[in-house]
């Protein structure tokens, strides 16, 4: 497989539908109006020399290499900035142009180092390519005059020389190699939207400057890598390329971090990843990336990875390394023993939102067909289960309605309980781009997240609600829309049930739901809320994007339904630019839900009680399926404590760290007799495990991930699994050890089985994915190419359903002992429980969890910035450092849950969503006080974890004490 070379067209594509015909170097070319001559020419296969142009950013016209001659026009205009015109006759190579280009190159090279052979960009340098293309043979100006290349000249320090900046853990900035093309600056502005870079000075003194002449790490830079990708020289270079050299082949695959599901080229040198480069044809990311996907893949080869299966009798014993066969035999024997002793329902499984669709499908199949019960659940339980429930009720499908491209047609965005610049950075960049073009933004969030106001972005309305009052705020928005006659009657009559709407309208119109009435407990000023409602209802295409701040509440499902109500009432469903879009947390949480990971649903969200659905699987699998829904994660843990649930197979999820009320989770796991953890690392859950099956990374397997826009993306194996087996093979062999006659040679066969049994996946196959790159489900006979926007002509369930959304305050209340509200979230550089990102250089940005607290609350408690504080709730207490900031309102504190040392979930309670048991992570009453050390829980936990991670073989090597 060769290195994939993507064509750089020089300038972005034009969206115009009108085409223009012109002649370039004798060839007739037809392109959309507004296309640059450079792009038109490249589309015809004629490459015009260029340095400052690249198709990820707008034309700039500074390098003067891309000049052309146009018949009937004077001079030599730059082809990147000149749009095509009907009948134009362009010459890209003439004697005059050749002379100009050579002259320009001579000037560039006169101030550029000539260490090409030892340069990291050797083999991937556009400057070198252009020198070749224009036939540069001599540099009349030499390099002995003014330059910014040499550190010392004529025995003196050269004041123009700047040393290399190596502060960023992943790439270096070498000013001596810079040709000041501004591509990095423009990429940072136009693609990423951070504006962290500028050109400082002028003329010969011009240099790229992060922030105010700061280092990259100290500047506003978020390390997305767009600048590195844009750089045509070795000025900005991945450190991995400097260390390893140029890649020799590449494979397109999908990032295994958040639910955006970015496509990357894994550029390889043998079995070693040299770098991950965002793929421009990736329809979710369109060639952009964030610090995690682009750079934070080092965990795949981290020394902490466990590569051999391990077994132990008791969780207090050290681990004993065993062979795969022994491990499978042991698990099979134990699981069968537990079922014999305690009943069929005594064991269960948890599928992973980080594994592939195929792997998830196998785990639920193992539980249903092998264990003979439906005790299967997934981590979506603790994040987006209310999305599934709420959208299923309202629209008939449990997924977002749009593709990410839809944001390019949006006029008003409501963002609720999501922080995309940290959680879904690539989507955030696409949203910011649209906002800079003039779209309006409404943020509903207790915190002043970056999108409320940051360079060139300002929300029209920020509704800083009290945590836990989502439903009241959304119903108040609906109140304004209904009482001020802002709803779309035609849409509702056509698409929904008018009498249901009337019922709902009479409910929301109740004065008790007015913004003025709810202001007292939501904390949202009524006038702001009214303004927001009017803007959303009347501002053009209105789209709602939301995250876990919506779902992880005791009324999570109600909030999702309230969101659906708003979209239907304003007619914002069923075309590009509108819709309801859950931002999914994990790479394959959508897929895990689609694949039947819930105890009550078979793949494709079909209830297990339906005999016709069961029939399809029973026939294919040759077993009888249990029609009763199984246990959810919290129920499994409760049952474990009660003694009826004894064994569990957990694939790729760290429930001890990620699930709420850590102490309860621990008690449940400790009560079981056979906990099987299948993971990359000895995670926190593994501390309570009896069997450890080493997992494989996304680089080591074939499969598919489904992202937040229902897009099925291929994951491709680029290296041999270090542990010997891909995750699907582990589940397969475990099933075989339990006596199931499964045989799969490749995940494509598993996908075929999914397509065969699941109507919304009916036409999906690896062949189709190879052809199309990706498809969005539903993909079946009716929609053979997939479905970018759902509910185009009508709702999947028939008519959209309006549902009353009564606000019921959570039982978790603040009081004198716990006067503050804690809400949790994540940060850009870390991901989820941090198992992966903590094992990369990303810790440079976020080495520990911090508690954000308002200056007022901090002062009252005598807390200074950086102090160690104790955070206590009714569930437990932990200690961490305080960060004083006005991002949180008085009365609200915020932290992340990336580090096991902090264990923020010791604090969270076991209150859950009424419909789906999704935990109420986002609201916990707490108290904060100064502290002088870790809490007793943290110390005990740390000691126990260390004890539990011992591996027998390693111990024997250590000298006796």
């Amino acid at each position: 497989m060769p290195l994939i070379q993507e064509i750089d067209y020089g300038t972005p594509a034009s969206a115009s539908e009108k085409t223009v015909r012109l002649v370039i170097d004798g060839a007739s070319v037809e392109v959309p109006e507004g296309t640059s001559i450079m792009r038109a020419s490249m589309e015809a296969g004629i490459a015009i020399p260029k340095l400052c142009a690249t198709d990820m950013v707008d034309a700039f016209g500074s390098c003067r290499l891309c000049l052309v001659e146009i018949e009937g026009r004077n001079g030599t205009p730059s082809s990147c900035t000149t749009p095509v015109a009907e009948g134009m006759v362009v010459h890209t190579q003439t004697g005059r142009l050749k002379d100009i280009r050579r002259g320009v190159m001579e000037l560039y090279i006169s101030d550029h180092p000539l260490d090409c052979l030892t340069c990291a960009a050797n083999g991937d340098c556009e400057l070198q390519d252009m020198a070749g293309a224009v036939g540069l043979r001599e540099v009349r100006y030499g390099q002995d005059g003014d330059n910014h290349v040499k550190a010392r000249q004529n025995g003196e320090a050269n004041p123009r020389y700047l040393p290399k900046d190596e502060s960023n853990p992943y790439f270096t900035y070498d000013p001596s190699k810079c040709i000041v093309c501004s591509r990095c600056v423009r990429a940072c502005e136009e693609v990423q939207g951070t504006f962290a870079l500028t050109i400082e000075g002028r003329g010969f003194d011009s240099r790229v400057s992060p922030g105010m002449h700061e280092s990259f790490l100290a500047s506003e830079c978020v390390s997305c890598g767009a600048c590195v990708q844009a750089c045509p020289t070795a000025t900005l270079t991945e450190k991995s390329v400097i260390e390893i050299g140029q890649p020799e082949h590449s494979v397109v695959t999908t990032c295994a971090y958040c639910g955006v599901g970015c496509s990357f080229k894994a550029e390889m040198r043998g079995q070693e990843v040299v770098r991950m480069v965002p793929w421009k044809d990736g329809k979710a990311n369109r060639g952009h990336s964030c610090v995690k996907g682009r750079f934070a893949w080092g965990y795949a080869t981290h020394k902490d990875r466990i590569l051999n299966p391990m077994v132990r009798e008791k969780i207090t014993d050290p681990w004993r390394e065993v062979g795969w066969d022994e491990a499978f035999a042991h698990v099979a024997k134990e699981f069968r023993r537990l079922q014999f002793q305690y009943g069929k329902g005594a064991i269960g499984g948890i599928t992973s939102s980080r594994c592939t669709n195929e792997e998830t499908f196998l785990v639920q199949k193992l539980v249903r067909a092998g264990f003979g019960n439906n005790n299967v659940d997934t981590c979506a339980r603790v994040c987006h289960s209310p999305t599934g429930y709420g959208l299923g009720k309202a629209f008939g499908t449990s997924a977002g309605t749009q593709d990410f491209d839809s944001v390019e047609h949006t006029d008003v965005v409501i963002l609720i309980g999501a922080n995309p610049t940290d959680g879904h950075p690539v989507f955030a960049s696409r949203l910011k781009k649209r906002l800079r073009q003039g779209a309006k933004l409404i943020v509903i969030d207790p915190r002043r997240i970056d999108l409320v106001r940051s360079a060139h972005i300002e929300a029209s309305h920020h509704l800083p609600l009290k945590p836990g009052t989502n439903v009241a705020v959304l119903t108040a928005l609906a109140h304004v829309i209904v009482t001020e006659d802002l709803f779309d009657e035609a849409f509702i009559r056509e698409r929904c049930d008018w009498s249901e709407f009337e019922d709902w309208a009479s409910f929301v119109a109740d004065p008790a739901n007015s913004p003025e009435a709810t202001e007292a407990f939501t904390g949202v000023p009524a006038s702001e809320l009214r303004g927001a409602a009017r803007l959303y209802a009347r501002g053009g295409n209105g789209a709602i994007y939301y995250g876990l701040g919506v779902t992880e509440h005791s009324q999570g499902s109600t909030t999702v339904m309230a969101i659906a109500n708003l979209a239907m009432a304003t007619g914002n469903i069923g075309r590009p630019g509108v819709g309801v879009n859950p931002l999914r947390g994990q790479n394959n949480v959508q897929g895990a839900c689609d694949m039947g990971s819930f105890p009550h649903e078979l793949p494709g969200y079909r209830h297990i009680s339906g005999s016709d659905v069961r029939d399809v699987f029973e026939k294919l699998w040759g077993v009888e399926l249990n029609p009763e829904p199984g246990l959810r994660i919290p129920n499994m843990l409760d049952a474990a404590v009660d003694g009826s649930f004894r064994g569990i197979y957990i694939q790729g999820e760290d429930i001890l760290q990620s699930d709420p009320d850590t102490k309860h989770v621990k008690a449940g796991l400790e009560a079981m007799e056979c906990v099987v953890v299948h993971d990359l690392f000895l995670n926190e859950t593994a501390n309570c495990a009896h069997v450890f099956l080493p997992g494989s990374t996304f680089l080591e397997k074939d499969g598919t991930f489904t992202n937040a826009e229902r897009r099925i993306n291929r994951v491709r194996k680029v290296m041999t699994p270090k542990n010997g087996l891909s995750d699907w093979e582990v589940t397969l062999k475990l099933a075989q050890a339990m006596g199931l006659g499964w045989s799969y040679d490749h995940p494509s066969q598993i996908m075929d089985e999914i397509a065969l049994t699941t109507p919304s996946f009916a036409s999906v196959s690896y062949k189709l994915l190879e052809e199309k790159g990706s498809v969005q489900w539903p993909c079946n006979e009716a929609r053979p190419e997939g479905t970018p926007v759902m509910h185009l002509d009508g709702f999947v369930r028939g008519r959209g359903k309006f549902i009353r959304t009564e606000y019921v305050a959570t039982d978790e209340r603040t009081g004198p002992r716990f006067p503050l509200l804690l809400t949790t979230g994540r940060i850009l550089s870390q991901y989820n429980v941090g198992a992966q990102t903590r094992r990369t250089e990303n810790v440079a940005w976020h080495a520990e969890d911090l508690l954000e607290i308002h200056p007022h609350d901090a002062e009252q408690r005598g807390i200074r910035d950086g102090d160690l504080v104790k955070l206590a709730s009714r569930s437990g207490e932990t200690a961490l450092r305080a960060k004083i900031t006005e991002r949180v309102a008085p009365g609200v504190v915020y932290t992340t849950f990336h580090h096991p040392g902090t264990q923020a979930n010791v604090i969270t309670t076991d209150f859950t969503d009424w419909a789906t048991n999704c935990p109420e992570y986002k609201v916990t009453a707490v108290q904060v006080s100064p502290s002088n050390g870790p809490t007793v829980w943290q110390e005990e936990y740390e000691a126990q974890a260390a004890q539990s991670r011992r591996i027998a073989a390693e111990e024997a090597l250590e000298p006796a004490e």
């Binding site: 992060p210 922030g211 105010m212 060139h456």
Partner: protein
């Protein structure tokens, strides 16, 4: 500690200037001019404040400030002499006059004398090509300078 207080004072004075000029269309340059006249230079500590208030990045403000040689990073001397170094003035003997002036002041370009009396700067065209060579003392234009005028200038700023 003192440094932090200085920065806080700079920030609050900057804020006042920004608040006054923010309604202008394209307020950044007018703000920078007022800041320079307020502090005698554009203090680094005022840049993040401007960025925050105008909703720009620090990098952007830095890019603008560093683009214009007129904006100083540090305060100038009590007097500022600017000597035109453009083509017309050079062709009228500007080089020799420049050497002489620097010699008399004992300074190189962009330097300020140790007693803080004077800063000398090159400038590229004062628009007085017809009366070259030209100079500027504390904002006042002087045409047709010669060796004598240069000596007068050096004397005047030392007084």
């Amino acid at each position: 500690m003192e440094r932090r207080q200085d920065d806080a004072a700079i920030a609050s004075r900057t804020q006042a200037i920004v608040a006054r000029l923010k309604p202008l269309e394209g307020p950044l340059l007018p703000i920078l001019h007022d800041i320079q006249s307020e502090f005698g230079h554009v203090p680094q500590a005022s840049l993040p404040v401007i960025a925050q208030e105008l909703n720009l990045s620090r990098a952007e403000v830095h890019g603008v400030v560093s683009f214009y040689h007129d904006f100083r990073e540090a305060p100038a001397g009590r007097h500022v002499i600017r000597l035109c170094r453009s083509e017309a003035c050079q062709s009228m003997g500007g080089d020799a006059l420049a050497d002489r002036l620097l010699g008399l002041l004992g300074l190189d370009w962009h330097e300020t004398s140790a007693d803080g009396a004077v800063t000398v700067e090159p400038i590229y065209c004062l628009g007085l090509c017809a009366t070259a060579p030209a100079a500027m003392l504390d904002g006042e234009l002087i045409g047709r300078i010669d060796q004598e005028t240069v000596a007068d200038l050096a004397r005047a700023v030392r007084a």
